[in-house]
Amino acid sequence: MALETHDFQAFRGTEPPRFANRAELECAKVLDYYGLPWEYEPRTFVLETDENGRVLEAFTPDFYLPEQDLYLEVTVMKQSLVTRKNRKLRKLRARYPEVNAKLFYRRDLERLAERLSLDLDE
């Protein structure tokens, strides 16, 4: 996906972020604008393994905000379709209770877009 390039100031990761969609890019731009340090997909959490230790299910949240110690997953799916992501988040909280994670829904993004005139279209 060809997304515009952006000179991020508050990005704290090592590898340049490769966003999966426009919404992730816009989120990154908002975090950056307000000077909130962020990383992109810095950690994958194993949610389920088989008896041999092979990973059956994993979850890589989109953003990590180190100052807030908060993982942020951005979803552009409609509210009715986020069940799978919610289930992953519940599993994450059950298996890693010390991890602080939040799902940023499509409606949250739309609110931000309305307030800040973001372009969420692909």
């Binding site: 000179d7 100031q9 908002v30 975090l31 950056d32 604008y33 307000y34 000077g35 909130l36 905000l65 100052e67 807030q68 908060l70 942020l72 939040k102 940023f104 409606r107 949250d108 609110r111 931000l112 309305e114 307030r115 800040l116 005139s117």
Partner: protein, 176 residues
């Protein structure tokens, strides 16, 4: 364009703002209270709240540059007052992600106020991305768009005495 229903009447708003004002007056009695008002959405709430805080206090204003004009957030209008050693209370119309207030918190704390806290008319804590010292909350509200009582839609409707829901399908634009 048709507005949605009234969510809080002017009387409900007046009652709650009066309660907040009394609470703030109790908490800040004998202190050097400065109400800091970010322009423009907070002006109606701040004007009412200030008159309900029945202790001596000062008012000052600031304005942030709208999102997207530059590479980072900055103040279009800074405070006139020196806040060193004073008790700063930000008077905000609504707190949701907290990103704007996080910037103000970070920036104003560098000026060494005696204390720093936030009073907001509306709160959406379930959308918060950053922790903030929100000490006074008028109402916790659902994820609706609001206009009136200072909240605007393309700079209109701020003057409405009641707080209205604005239904998305009836229009689009910036609102609370």
């Amino acid at each position: 364009m048709t507005l949605g229903e009234v969510y809080f009447t002017a009387a409900q708003l007046r009652r709650r703002v009066g309660e907040l004002g009394a609470e703030i007056a109790r908490d800040y009695a004998g202190r050097d209270l400065l109400l800091v008002v970010p322009l423009k959405g907070s002006i109606v709430f701040a004007a009412d709240l200030s008159r309900c805080v029945r202790i001596p206090h000062a008012l000052d204003f600031l304005q942030l540059e709208p999102y997207g004009r530059g590479s980072g957030v900055k103040l279009l209008k800074d405070l006139d007052a020196d806040i060193r050693g004073r008790d700063v209370l930000i008077v905000e119309d609504v707190v949701d992600t907290g990103l704007t207030l996080h910037y103000l918190n970070r920036t104003l704390r560098l000026r060494a106020p005696a204390s720093f806290a936030i009073a907001t008319l509306l709160d959406r804590p379930y959308r918060r991305l950053v922790e903030l010292p929100v000490r006074y909350v008028g109402f916790t509200v659902p994820d609706e768009l609001f206009v009136g009582y200072g909240f605007d839609l393309e700079q209109r409707y701020r003057n409405l005495p009641d707080l209205h829901v604005f239904h998305r399908e009836r229009g689009s634009g910036r609102a609370a």
